[in-house]
C-alpha cells in the first residue's frame, strides 16, 4: 500500500481524525483540570460560608445560600499562627534548597562525570538512602536532634530535611548531566579552563533545567513533610504550615472547617503559581538541551 499520491479522501480522513483528536485533547484537559482543582475551588467557596450555611445537609455545597463572610479568613490571619507558620515554611524551604544544591551538585558531577570506578556503586548507594523512610528514622533522629540541642526549634528541620532532598536531587542531576554531551566540557578544557572552571562556566549553565527541577522538588518535599515536623517541634511559634494548620485549627474534635479550607487555598495557589512559572522555563530549557544534544 505504498501510495505516494495523497487523494482527497485521504485528506478528508486526516482532517476528520485531526478534529476528533483536538476534541479529545480539550475534553481530557478540562476533565483533568476539574479533577485536580475541583477540591480547591470548592474549598475556596467554603472559606466564605457562614456556619449556618455550611452545617446544613440540604444546602447546595457549591453556592452561597447565605451572605458570604470573611470572618474565617480574619480568624486564620489574626487569631492563629498562620502567618508565622507560612514564614517558617518559606525560610526553611529556601535554606534547605540551598543546602541541597550545595551538596548534590558537586556529588552528582562527581558521580556522572569524573569516571571513578566506584561511581556506579556509590550512585546506587546514595539512591538506596531514599529507601529509608522517615517513619523508620523519626525515633532515632529525634534523639539526635535533642543531642544537637535543636529540639523544639525550626532549625532542626533545616538540618534534617536535606537527608530527604539530597538523594533524590543527586539522582535527578545525574540524569540531567547524562543529557549534556561530554565533548562540551572537554572542548572548554582544551580551550584552557580547568576541570572546575569548565564545570562552573559551561556545565552548570547547561544544567539549569536540572537545577530548577531540584529547586522545585526540594521545596515541595520540604513544604509537604509532615512526620519529622510533627515529631521534632511542639511550640506553635516554631511550627511550619503542614503541622501548624492541622494542630492549631483542629482542637479536639472541633474542626474550624472554613479556616482550614482558607489555609489550604492560600498555601496552594501561590506555590502552584510560582512552580508553573518555573515549569515553563524548565521545559523550554529541557527541549533546547535535547535539540542541542
Amino acid at each position: 500500500m505504498d501510495r505516494l499520491v495523497v487523494t482527497d479522501a485521504d485528506r478528508h480522513r486526516y482532517a476528520r481524525r485531526h478534529r476528533a483528536g483536538r476534541i479529545a485533547l480539550y475534553a481530557i484537559a478540562v476533565i483533568s483540570a476539574l479533577a485536580a482543582a475541583g477540591p480547591f475551588v470548592w474549598a475556596a467557596i467554603t472559606t466564605f460560608k457562614q456556619d449556618s450555611d455550611l452545617y446544613r445537609r440540604r444546602n447546595n455545597p457549591f453556592i452561597f445560600n447565605e451572605t458570604p463572610t470573611t470572618d474565617h479568613i480574619g480568624l486564620l490571619i489574626n487569631d492563629t499562627g498562620f502567618v508565622t507558620f507560612a514564614w517558617n515554611t518559606l525560610w526553611v524551604g529556601v535554606l534547605v534548597v540551598l543546602i541541597t544544591l550545595a551538596l548534590s551538585l558537586p556529588a552528582a558531577y562527581s558521580l556522572a562525570r569524573l569516571d571513578r570506578p566506584w561511581a556506579g556503586p556509590m550512585g546506587i548507594a546514595i539512591f538506596f538512602v531514599y529507601l529509608v523512610p522517615p517513619t523508620l528514622l523519626f525515633l532515632s533522629l529525634s534523639r539526635l536532634v535533642v543531642a544537637l540541642g535543636l529540639q523544639d526549634s525550626t532549625w532542626s528541620l533545616v538540618v534534617i530535611y536535606p537527608t530527604i532532598t539530597v538523594p533524590v536531587s543527586v539522582w535527578l542531576l545525574i540524569g540531567f548531566l547524562k543529557t549534556i554531551p561530554k565533548d562540551i566540557e572537554e572542548q572548554a578544557m582544551v580551550d584552557g579552563y580547568s576541570r572546575v572552571g569548565a564545570m562552573v562556566r559551561v556545565v552548570v549553565p547547561l544544567l539549569f533545567p536540572g537545577i530548577v527541577a531540584v529547586i522545585v522538588f526540594a521545596f515541595t518535599l520540604t513544604a509537604s513533610e509532615f512526620i519529622y515536623a510533627l515529631a521534632f517541634i511542639s511550640p506553635s511559634a516554631e511550627k511550619v504550615i503542614s503541622t501548624g494548620v492541622p494542630t492549631e485549627l483542629v482542637r479536639g474534635d472541633v474542626f474550624f472547617w472554613q479556616s482550614l479550607q482558607a489555609a489550604a487555598v492560600l498555601v496552594a495557589v501561590p506555590i502552584a503559581f510560582v512552580f508553573n512559572l518555573f515549569l515553563d522555563r524548565f521545559i523550554a530549557g529541557f527541549t533546547q538541551g535535547a535539540v542541542k544534544g
Binding site: 485533547l25 558531577y109 529509608v132 539530597v166 580547568s194 572546575v196 474542626f255 535539540v291
Partner: protein, 303 residues
C-alpha cells in the same frame, strides 16, 4: 609565561579528577552517613530492645519485638493493605500520569491555566489538601454525597471513610490525586527528550497516532516511566500521611498500612521497640523492589 605559583597549584588540584571526585562527593556522603546511616543503625538497635516512651533505658531483648508483631493479625492486615495500596495507586498514577503528560505537552488554548490547575494537588502540602478531602468525604456534609443525592443515586450518605472497601478506595483515590501531577511532569520531561526527528520520521513513514505512541514514544520513554514508577512506588509504600489524616487506619485497621501502624505503635502507643521493628520490616521489601526495577532499567538502557 609562568602563572603565579598559587594559581598553578590550584590549577593542578582543580584538574586532578581523582581527588576532585572525592572532594565533590564527600560532603553529601558525610551528611547522609551522619543523619541517615547513624539513625538507621540506632533504629535497628531499638527494634532489638525494650525501649519505650516511658522508659528510655536500653535493654537487649533479641527478636522478641519481631515475634510479637508476627503473632499480631493487625500486622498481616497492614502488610496486605500496604501492597494493595501501593499496587492499585501506582497503576492509576502511571496510567493517568501518562495521559496527562501527553495532554500537557500538546499545544492548545488555555494550556497555562490547565497546567496551573493540574499542578495544584502536588504543590499543596499534603496534610492541608488531605484535610480538604476529609471534609469532601464527611459522613454527613459530604458535597459528593449531596451531588449523588441530587442525581437520585443515593438516599442518605455513603459514609466514605466508615466502610472498609470505600475507605480504602478513598485513601487510594486521594493518594492518586496528589501524585498524578508529579508523574505527569516527570513523564512530560521524558517525552520532550525524544529527538524531534525520530517523531517526524515516524510521521513521514505514515505511522498514525496510536502506532507512534506504542512503537516510538512508549519504548523511548520506558526508562523514564520505570524510574518515576519506582520513586512513586517507594514513596507510596512508606507514606502514611493520607492514611493518617483521612482514616487514622480505620475503620478497625481496614486501611492500616505498615507505615501508619508503625507510627501508632511506636509513637502514640509509645512502644518504640515494636514501632521500629514494624518500620524495619519495610526495608527488605523496598530493597527487593528497588533492585528489581533498577535491573529492568539497566537492561533497557543496554538493549
Amino acid at each position: 609565561m609562568a602563572a603565579p605559583p598559587d594559581v598553578a597549584a590550584r590549577r593542578r588540584l582543580a584538574d586532578r579528577d581523582g581527588a576532585l571526585a572525592w572532594i565533590f562527593l564527600s560532603p553529601a556522603v558525610v551528611y547522609i552517613l551522619a543523619l541517615v546511616g547513624l539513625p538507621f543503625v540506632l533504629a535497628v538497635a531499638f527494634s532489638l530492645s525494650d525501649v519505650t516512651g516511658g522508659d528510655p533505658s536500653f535493654d537487649w531483648v533479641g527478636l522478641q519485638n519481631f515475634e510479637r508483631i508476627f503473632s499480631d493479625p493487625v500486622f498481616w492486615r497492614s502488610l496486605r493493605n500496604t501492597f494493595v495500596f501501593t499496587a492499585v495507586s501506582m497503576f492509576f498514577i502511571v496510567l493517568f500520569g501518562k495521559v496527562l503528560a501527553n495532554v500537557l505537552i500538546a499545544d492548545f488554548k488555555g494550556r497555562w491555566l490547565v497546567r496551573f490547575l493540574v499542578l495544584l494537588p502536588w504543590t499543596t502540602p499534603v496534610a492541608l489538601s488531605t484535610i480538604t478531602w476529609l471534609w469532601l468525604l464527611d459522613s454527613v456534609f459530604s458535597p459528593i454525597d449531596w451531588v449523588l443525592r441530587q442525581i437520585g443515586l443515593l438516599q442518605t450518605n455513603m459514609f466514605w471513610l466508615g466502610q472498609p472497601t470505600l475507605a480504602m478506595a478513598s485513601v487510594i483515590a486521594v493518594h492518586v490525586w496528589r501524585l498524578v501531577p508529579l508523574a505527569a511532569v516527570i513523564m512530560m520531561a521524558g517525552l520532550l527528550s525524544i529527538p524531534k526527528d525520530v517523531q517526524e520520521q515516524a510521521l513521514v513513514d505514515g505511522a498514525g497516532y496510536w502506532r507512534r505512541m506504542f512503537e516510538v514514544t512508549i519504548p523511548l520513554t520506558a526508562p523514564v516511566i520505570a524510574i518515576s514508577a519506582l520513586f512513586g512506588a517507594i514513596f507510596t509504600f512508606t507514606d502514611m500521611t493520607v492514611v493518617y489524616v483521612l482514616t487514622r487506619g480505620g475503620p478497625t485497621n481496614e486501611t492500616q498500612v505498615l507505615a501508619s501502624w508503625a507510627f501508632f505503635r511506636g509513637i502514640e502507643g509509645s512502644d518504640i521497640g515494636q514501632g521500629a521493628a514494624i518500620a524495619l520490616f519495610l526495608f527488605p521489601l523496598l530493597l527487593a523492589a528497588a533492585i528489581a526495577i533498577l535491573r529492568a532499567v539497566r537492561r533497557m538502557e543496554v538493549g
